[in-house]
Every structure is written in structure tokens, then in C-alpha cells.
């Protein structure tokens, strides 16, 4: 069973007026068992991968098969250069992939198309943790955003590894975000093996595979800037108007909480208990409400929800770091520091974000943000491999 909790910054607002506020949604599941893993490797085999690239991919695949995969896990491999091919169909740890051979250009679009074909043929199974791992060392032709986003519809998320001697981390990070995954940085080929292990270990902690969040928005209400915190993953820019919407989320990990923040606009707050939106995810649901009143003193004295403020500011800082705006992120982190007086978890957030922002290059920063997660008690931690 999953429990959802939706809150506004304040549960009260002046009635007969419009309202703009921020909201937060916490998703906590009680599944303490990780799902078996379906791992689809999508590997760049363009000319630049010849030599060291081929060797490290071969080593990594054998390492995953021999050392990491459990008896219920499955793996398939797609290789791509100018075009893309299914190199090894779904199989267990006893599979024996053919040798890898590099040559040609780098076409991300055909790789994503082949990925969708492979997932379509495999089918959807929400009882398994579907994870695509996309590795490239080059700047390929950009894949269609909508195609990348479609990966989540199969219950899979896609993580990207950029061998940054040649790849553009920002581009690969965008692809990972669209498919609700995270970016991993590998400065050289030898670092790719570590990234493979890291993603595999993450995949082995998934409790709920890429769940869909249904949002029913009431008349006169819009929701926008839906961001997953603390990683700063943009879930939907919006605005989402009245009606029912469905968005895909990242995998929910055992022992961790899923946090979302959003902006909400209400055309007019009635002088009563106002239902603004209903969130539903994996059998749990929560209603977002605000009570309208004419009593200014009552509204002024109503306590603010420090959790929503902290989640919002954390997401803002993470998004600024992704764009390379370290100065802007530092200003937000300084704001979060002022919350330490009243919020017991704020100091963990400032520490982890400060650690990430002090990393040397953008690839490391993007990987650092992808590894942030919030435990069920609301403590922000950095996932260790």
C-alpha cells in the first residue's frame, strides 16, 4: 500500500480572492522487497568506441552477468552506431552475448527507436524493475523527446552514462530526465564499469517500477512546474488545467520517499473548504485542500508547512545546478540554511547540495544530483554505491 500526502504552504487562504501557492506531495510505499530487475543495455558502438570502449563494454557485461545478476533478473543488449540492432535478446545470468565490434557514426534516434521496439515486444510488467542503461561516448544525433519519454510507458526508466571524454553530459542528462532516470558520469572508459555497477545496484533497490501519478484538477485550478525533489527532475512543466492528467515518475526505491513540488493557481478561493486537486498513485490517494476564510488574523497565525518550503527550495537549487548556475544555486542553498532553525532536516539538505555544487565538473554535478534521495523520515541523503 502506498500513502500519499499533499499539502500547501498554508492550509488557509483569504476567500473571494485568487491564490498562488506552492504545494508538495509525499509518496511513501510499504513494499520493503526489491523487485527483480529487467536491465536493457543500449550501448554506443560507433567508431570512437573501438579499442578501449569495446574492451570495457565486454568486461562490464560479463561482470554484470557473472557477479551482479540474481537468478530472477534478466538482461538484453542493443548496440547502435549509424543504426541500431538487438545484440542479445532477453536472457538470464547464463546468457552468452556475442563479442562487441565498433564502427560507424552515433545515431541516438535509431537507438531509442530500437529500444522502444524491444520494450514493446517484451511487454509491460509492473512487478519487475525495468531499467534501460544508455551508454555513449559521443555527441549523437538527438533523439525525439517524445520517443524518449515513451520509455516510461513500458514501466522502464532510462539512465545514461556519458563517457565525457567525448559525450555531452547535459544532452545525456536531458534524455535521462525525460525517461525519469539519472545521469552517470564516466570521465574515461575505465570509469564506465563503476557506473554500470552503480546503476545495477540502484536497479536492485526498486520497490515500485516507474509508477504513474494521476492528478485530478478541479475547475478554476491549474498546476504547473511539477518537479521531483531533491533531484530537481522536471516531471511536467504544465500548466495542467482542470481535468485528469497522468504523469510518469521515477522508480520508487525501498525505504525512500518520493517527493514532488508544484505551483498551484486558484482563480477564486471560496469561503469554505475547497478541494483543489486529487492525487492517486499505486492505490493510494490524497486530496489537496485549502480552507477559505475572511479572518486575516487566523490566516496570519496559521503555521506554514516547512516541508513544502524545504522541498520546493531543494528542487529549485537542484534545477539551477543542472543548468550550471552555481551562483544561483548557492543563493538558494543559503536560503535553505535559514530553515535549519525550524526544520530538523534542512541541515542535511544544505550539506548534500553544498557537496554536490562543489564538484569539479558538470558531469559529476549531474551524477551527484541523480544520487540524491529522501528517506521515509524526510532526510535527504546521497546514495552510496
Amino acid at each position: 500500500m502506498v500513502s500519499l500526502t499533499a499539502n500547501l504552504i498554508k492550509p488557509l487562504a483569504k476567500c473571494n480572492q485568487p491564490l498562488i501557492s506552492k504545494g508538495g506531495l509525499n509518496i511513501i510505499g510499504d513494499n520493503e522487497n526489491a523487485l527483480p530487475l529487467d536491465l536493457l543495455l543500449v550501448i554506443d558502438m560507433s567508431g570512437s568506441m573501438s579499442g578501449d570502449g569495446e574492451r570495457i563494454v565486454q568486461q562490464s557485461v560479463l561482470f554484470i552477468l557473472d557477479k551482479l545478476m540474481g537468478p530472477n533478473d534478466k538482461m538484453a543488449i542493443i548496440t547502435f552506431s549509424n543504426g541500431a540492432n538487438l545484440h542479445m535478446n532477453w536472457g538470464d545470468k547464463n546468457s552468452n552475448p556475442a563479442a562487441f565490434s565498433a564502427g560507424g557514426g552515433t545515431n541516438f534516434g535509431s537507438a531509442i527507436n530500437e529500444t522502444l521496439s524491444c520494450l514493446g515486444a517484451y511487454g509491460i510488467d509492473s512487478s519487475r524493475a525495468g531499467t534501460v542503461l544508455f551508454l555513449s561516448d559521443g555527441q549523437g544525433q538527438k533523439a525525439n523527446d517524445e520517443n524518449v519519454r515513451t520509455i516510461t510507458e513500458f514501466g522502464f526508466t532510462m539512465h545514461t552514462i556519458g563517457v565525457t571524454s567525448g559525450a555531452d553530459p547535459t544532452h545525456l542528462n536531458q534524455m535521462a530526465e525525460l525517461a525519469r532516470g539519472f545521469y552517470y558520469d564516466a570521465p574515461g572508459f575505465d570509469d564506465a564499469l563503476k557506473a554500470f555497477s552503480s546503476i545495477f545496484n540502484y536497479g536492485k533497490t526498486v520497490a515500485y517500477a516507474a509508477p504513474d501519478l494521476k492528478i485530478k484538477i478541479e475547475d478554476g485550478v491549474t498546476i504547473s512546474d511539477l518537479v521531483q525533489s531533491p533531484q530537481g527532475v522536471e516531471i511536467a512543466k504544465g500548466p495542467l488545467n482542470a481535468g485528469t492528467h497522468e504523469v510518469s515518475l521515477s522508480h520508487l526505491v525501498v525505504g525512500m520517499r518520493g517527493d514532488l513540488t508544484f505551483r498551484i493557481n486558484v482563480d477564486n478561493v471560496a469561503c469554505e473548504d475547497n478541494l483543489l486537486a486529487t492525487f492517486e498513485c499505486i492505490g493510494g490517494s490524497s486530496e489537496l485542500r485549502v480552507k477559505g476564510t475572511t479572518d486575516d488574523t487566523q490566516i496570519l497565525n496559521a503555521s506554514t508547512n516547512a516541508d513544502v518550503t524545504l522541498m520546493t527550495k531543494t528542487g529549485q537549487a537542484a534545477q539551477l545546478l543542472k543548468t550550471g548556475d552555481k551562483a544561483g544555486a548557492t543563493r538558494i542553498i543559503t536560503q535553505i540554511k535559514t530553515l535549519e532553525k525550524t526544520h530538523p532536516q534542512a541541515s542535511d539538505v544544505t550539506k548534500t547540495l553544498t557537496d554536490v555544487s562543489s564538484m569539479k565538473n558538470q558531469g559529476e554535478i549531474l551524477e551527484g544530483l541523480g544520487k540524491l534521495q529522501t528517506d521515509k523520515e524526510g532526510k535527504t541523503i546521497r546514495r552510496e554505491d
Binding site: 504552504i9 483569504k14 498562488i20 506552492k22 490566516i299 543563493r331 536560503q335 530553515l339 523520515e377 541523503i381
Partner: protein, 360 residues
């Protein structure tokens, strides 16, 4: 003052909902204080607490009582006779006669009644029959952590009024019914249909079936009076949450003939494995809130934080992964101390493992 995000000048409208009404950026507590000051709006104040005026009141004599012998309602001269010694109708003896009654008003002479009341209080203290009573720890209010004795049998608000003299308790005790619970000698509790209910470990007890009050559990009467079971043998480890003063004993498995050693275990976190409040946390939280004190420092203890346990003579501390490790636990204890204090940043627990004797 301007919005941090969009630069718009902030107004009272933004202050009301703690968000910029142009871009939706949340205003931080410091910003809200600064904006209040700039707009000349006074800070929010907690509601004023009016301390109760303690007055010495004479015993109120009811206008009528039912004779326990013949059940006749006794009024006027019949009541006077009853108050002086016995029932005019069936000669039933009054077990608690009251002398010096004004003949017509039925009220006690105030000077003498004060004397009587004072004497009665002292007498009642002396009269506490430890043979027919059981010890508890009061875990709320100014007497938090102190040991009280409650009589075995039916207990109501008058018992608590006799024991807890501080005026703070008066209103809280008044919520307890005149016959609230029945206490048996093995700490079994029956709720006697009380108005404001009885809870053990946060669960309401009702009906005619008795509920066992174990060591480490909390018994809550009528919402704000909470007590826990204490021990006169000294064989149950005692824990005190130092910042609040609440105390409780850890239940001990005393081993068996098959060689199983004595063992005990106490989780020092806020929630149980199945996400219910730990008994100590429920008591600490209620005590702070009832006293009008800030309870938020308790949240520095994680929901699942650490477990201190003992098997035989082997005492262990297990801190859950990623949680703050307390100072005060011996690293390599050869002879374990009789008591130790585990100190976290904002909270500490004093654990008395081998008590020499009952503290009261």
C-alpha cells in the same frame, strides 16, 4: 521588501499565504518576520494562559444523599442526622460522619472546615495503604517522574485530587470520572464506563474485560493524565528521557529453566516497527504539549533510531544506519555501569540498569 525570485514588491497579501502572489515562490520564516516588521504587523503570539487562582474551598455538602442501607433520599434533618452519625430510617452507620454542621444551611463552618480539610489531607497522605495500593510513575505535569500510589479497587478523580496537589493538575483531573477505572493487584485495568475514556499504549480500553498494564506501557486517563507502571523490586531497568523527566521501566524476560538468559530490549526512537508511536514518545510529547512547552526537539530523534538491549550480562547498543550515534555508551565495557546516559544533540536518555532500591 522584494520577492527573492521575481523581484516583485511584497505586500500583506503575500504575507498572508506565505508565498509571492506573482511567482508563487515560498517566503521563508526570516522573510516573513522581516515582511511583518516592514508592514507593521505584530508577531503572532500564542494564546495567553491564565493561571488558575487557587482558593481554599470548604467541603461542599450535598443537599441530599441516598442512604446506602435503605436507599432513602436523606434531606434536611435526616441529612443532618446522617452527617452526624447514622440514618434516621434504618440506623445505617455513616462511615465518614462530618461534625459541626450548621443546623439550617447544611454548610460546613468555614473556619473549622478548612482545619478539617487540612487535617484530612495530611491524614489521607498518612492513610495511603501501601499494602493495598500499587506504585506508578506520573508522567505528565509538574510532578513528572515522581512515584505515586493508587489504591487497588475502583479509582476516580478524588484519588488523584488527593495525590496530585499541584494546582496545574486540577482541570486535568476534573476530566477523570468519579469512578473511572478498576485496578486489580496484578495491574489489570477495567474502564468503568468513564466519560473521557481510558487508553493503554494509545489504544482505548472499554467493556468488562480487563486489560493488562505492562512495564513500559502508558496508561492514559481522560486524555491528559498519564502514568506508567513502576517496580519496587529494582529488577526492571528504568529509563528517563532527561529533557522531559518522563520515566518508564523496560519489560524483562527473566529467562527460563532451559537456560535462556535474562533479556530485555528498548527501542529509543519515536515509532515502533509498525509505525505506531512508541509509548515513551507518546508520553513525552503529551507532557510537553500539556505543559505548553515546545515539543519539536523530540523530532531530532528519528522514527527508528537505536535499540539498547541486554542478553544475560551482555548489553548492546544498535544505532540504525544513518542515524545520530549517541555519546555515553561504553566502547568496550568490561564491567557495565549501573547507569549510563546516552546523549544525542537535543535529547538524552538516562538508563538505570541495576536499581538498588525503589526510589520512593
Amino acid at each position: 521588501m522584494e520577492c527573492f525570485d521575481c523581484g516583485t514588491t511584497l505586500s500583506e497579501r503575500d504575507l498572508l499565504v506565505a508565498c509571492c502572489q506573482i511567482c508563487g515562490d515560498p517566503l521563508l520564516p526570516d522573510d516573513l518576520d522581516a515582511l511583518r516588521a516592514e508592514l507593521g504587523i505584530a508577531e503572532a503570539k500564542p494564546p495567553e494562559i491564565i493561571n488558575p487562582i487557587i482558593e481554599s474551598k470548604p467541603l461542599e455538602i450535598p443537599d441530599a444523599v441516598d442512604c446506602p442501607g435503605c436507599f432513602t433520599p436523606l434531606m434536611g434533618i435526616d441529612l443532618e442526622a446522617w452527617n452526624e452519625g447514622s440514618c434516621n430510617y434504618c440506623s445505617e452507620i455513616n462511615p465518614s460522619p462530618i461534625s459541626k454542621i450548621e443546623s439550617t444551611s447544611g454548610k460546613v463552618d468555614s473556619e473549622d472546615s478548612n482545619l478539617n480539610t487540612a487535617t484530612k489531607d495530611i491524614d489521607e497522605e498518612k492513610m495511603i495503604d501501601h499494602q493495598n495500593s500499587l506504585p506508578f510513575i506520573i508522567n505528565v505535569g509538574p510532578s513528572v517522574g515522581e512515584i505515586i500510589h493508587l489504591p487497588i479497587g475502583d479509582i476516580g478523580r478524588s484519588n488523584f485530587h488527593q495525590i496530585l496537589k499541584d494546582s496545574w493538575y486540577k482541570d486535568h483531573i476534573n476530566r477523570i470520572s468519579s469512578e473511572h477505572i478498576r485496578l486489580s493487584e496484578n495491574y489489570e485495568i477495567i474502564d468503568l464506563g468513564s466519560t473521557n475514556k481510558t487508553y493503554i499504549d494509545g489504544l482505548r480500553i472499554s467493556g468488562t474485560k480487563s486489560a493488562q498494564l505492562n512495564f513500559g506501557s502508558d496508561l492514559n486517563l481522560a486524555g491528559n493524565i498519564q502514568i506508567s507502571r513502576t517496580d519496587s523490586s529494582g529488577s526492571y531497568p528504568l529509563i528517563e528521557h532527561v529533557e522531559t523527566g518522563i520515566k518508564w521501566h523496560i519489560p524483562v524476560f527473566k529467562g527460563d529453566d532451559a537456560g535462556m538468559p535474562k533479556s530485555w530490549s528498548q527501542h529509543l526512537g519515536r515509532l515502533t516497527e509498525d509505525d505506531h508511536s512508541e509509548s515513551w514518545y507518546r508520553m513525552a510529547d503529551l507532557h510537553l504539549r500539556a505543559m505548553g512547552l515546545d515539543e519539536t526537539f523530540l523530532s531530532y530523534i528519528s522514527r527508528r533510531h537505536m535499540i539498547i538491549s541486554c542478553e544475560g550480562d551482555d548489553i548492546k547498543l544498535e544505532v540504525f544506519e544513518g542515524k545520530e550515534t549517541p555519546v555515553g555508551f561504553p566502547e568496550n565495557p568490561t564491567i557495565f555501569p549501573d547507569d549510563l546516559t546516552l546523549s544525542l544533540k537535543k535529547n538524552s536518555f538516562k538508563i538505570t540498569i541495576n536499581q538498588k532500591s525503589e526510589s520512593n
